[in-house]
Symmetry: C2
Subunit: 291 residues, 2 copies
């Protein structure tokens, strides 16, 4: 949302001269679209964008309500892929091999210590190993050459994620040295967190409340560490990301994000669009303070 | 080798009336042939077999020599295959999942404790995990449903292996309970160890020495925990299993067993066959004491 009135003090009371940019977010799941729009298409400039809003259908928020994270709507996302290279051999003489599964499992076992011993207990942090691949099921008497594993890292602060990456490499280097193995690692930091603007937060909750009823819009105190490359906008301009409820009242739980049976409750679209319209109106009318 | 003279005291001095059975060992690599020959074909009966000999080309024994294990030429062999069943979910919310990789790695981490804490330090024991399969490399944000792992168990005593199997199941049950996971396990004991007859041992070494030169046949003090279903014979009659050297003198090391580039030194065949012929002669002539 772009308000030109800063440059044009004589703007009329209908907000004429302000404008709203609608952004289609391409390549979100691979984390690449937003950066392209910012760097290549200069979407935040000419005219300069003053604040940004986004929303996502959210399976843990009740239909008809909108939840807004107090601080982090999404986390900083990283990924790691590791290949431990050992020395293949007969499983009856492990001492003649360098067992890459042993190395990988020892690294795995130390990963929680990165979170518990190397970063502050008040920082958010998740490291999940989501695959581990070594050997084949039908060969039970050969220790394989290679064990691959990897997964995701999440936190709220980029410097915490950088620390995680450094510590994971330290661990790999040290444990491979113990075993005489080698490794390859590919550790990527995909993007920053989506931190909701503390200044805009209550204003947005109230604006949403005007559409939905005040008790229907609420602040979610906990951080959420999913990933969202809307961070490329929210790291540059004050922004608020809303969670639009899609869980029908009569259901205790519905399928989560990325589930093949994800259920979107179409009934919430009219109200959710109205909230955006309201924010657009208020923004253009100078009713939202962003600094 | 079968000596009928026990039943026929009047046998002549040329050993007539004794006989030698040559056994082709089918299905050795899948551990099933010998048992069939014993149970179905009654190979050890009619006439009853008094002692048995076997040999294997051996890449760590020098060509021209024969090594004979003091006790265990091969170990008792078992295999385990485990499937940990967790609850799939998004890797950013591990608390909503039951992570089967975490369970499998914790079981893995405890396996050495079975050897070090649950069986005697004077027992031989090896447990090697040779495969671990969970998730897929390109999916880094989903904790998978299942982690499979398995491998081989080796020891010299069947009761030790039975203990290993029981302890592995205890571990699986306890660790799965901690995580709320379930598991399937398939633990098989394939066969017993090949224990060389202490009575025949020196006699065989000496007989081999008569062919090769006495310094060329020797006793290997350490046990070997490879697998060999010749155990079906050696567990029923006194037996000696020989390791026929195939490592050329000028090489420090040659490819191991089951290597795709395993090298058999054909030059050793004549002498090795002669050793068998000598044992046949001595056995039939009553020159080998088996009890």
């Amino acid at each position: 949302m772009v308000d030109w009135r800063g440059k044009n003090p004589g703007i009329d009371s209908r907000g004429m001269g302000s404008c709203i940019k609608f952004v289609f977010q391409p390549g979100e799941e691979i984390g690449r679209g937003a950066m392209e729009l910012v760097k290549e298409d200069h979407v935040l400039e000419n005219p300069k964008v003053d604040m940004a809003f986004a929303a996502h259908g959210w399976p843990t928020v009740e239909s008809g309500k909108i939840g807004i994270a107090r601080r982090y709507a999404f986390g900083c996302v990283g990924a790691f892929a590791v290949e431990i290279i050992g020395k293949k051999g007969h499983a009856s003489w492990p001492e003649q091999t360098i067992d890459p599964i042993a190395v990988a499992n020892e690294v795995y076992q130390h990963i929680p210590a990165i979170l518990a011993r190397k970063i502050s207990g008040t920082d958010s942090g998740i490291m999940s190993v989501t695959y581990m691949q070594a050997g084949v099921e039908k060969i039970k008497n050969v220790i394989p050459q290679i064990c691959k594993f990897g997964g995701t890292m999440r936190t709220t602060k980029r410097e915490t994620m950088e620390k995680m990456a450094v510590e994971l490499k330290n661990e790999l280097r040290a444990i491979c040295e113990v075993y005489g193995a080698t490794y390859k690692s590919d550790i990527k930091i995909h993007g920053g967190a989506v931190e909701n603007s503390p200044i805009l937060l209550d204003q947005v909750r109230e604006a949403a409340g005007e559409i939905l009823g005040q008790e229907q819009s609420y602040i979610i105190e906990g951080d959420n560490l999913g990933g969202e490359n809307f961070s490329e906008y929210s790291n540059r301009v004050p922004a608020v990301y809303m969670f639009i409820g899609i869980k029908p009242k009569d259901k205790a739980e519905i399928p989560g994000l990325h589930s093949p049976i994800y259920q979107f409750d179409d009934g919430v679209l009219a109200n959710a669009s109205s909230v955006f319209a309201m924010l657009g109106y208020q923004g253009c009318m100078g009713m939202l303070e962003n600094s």
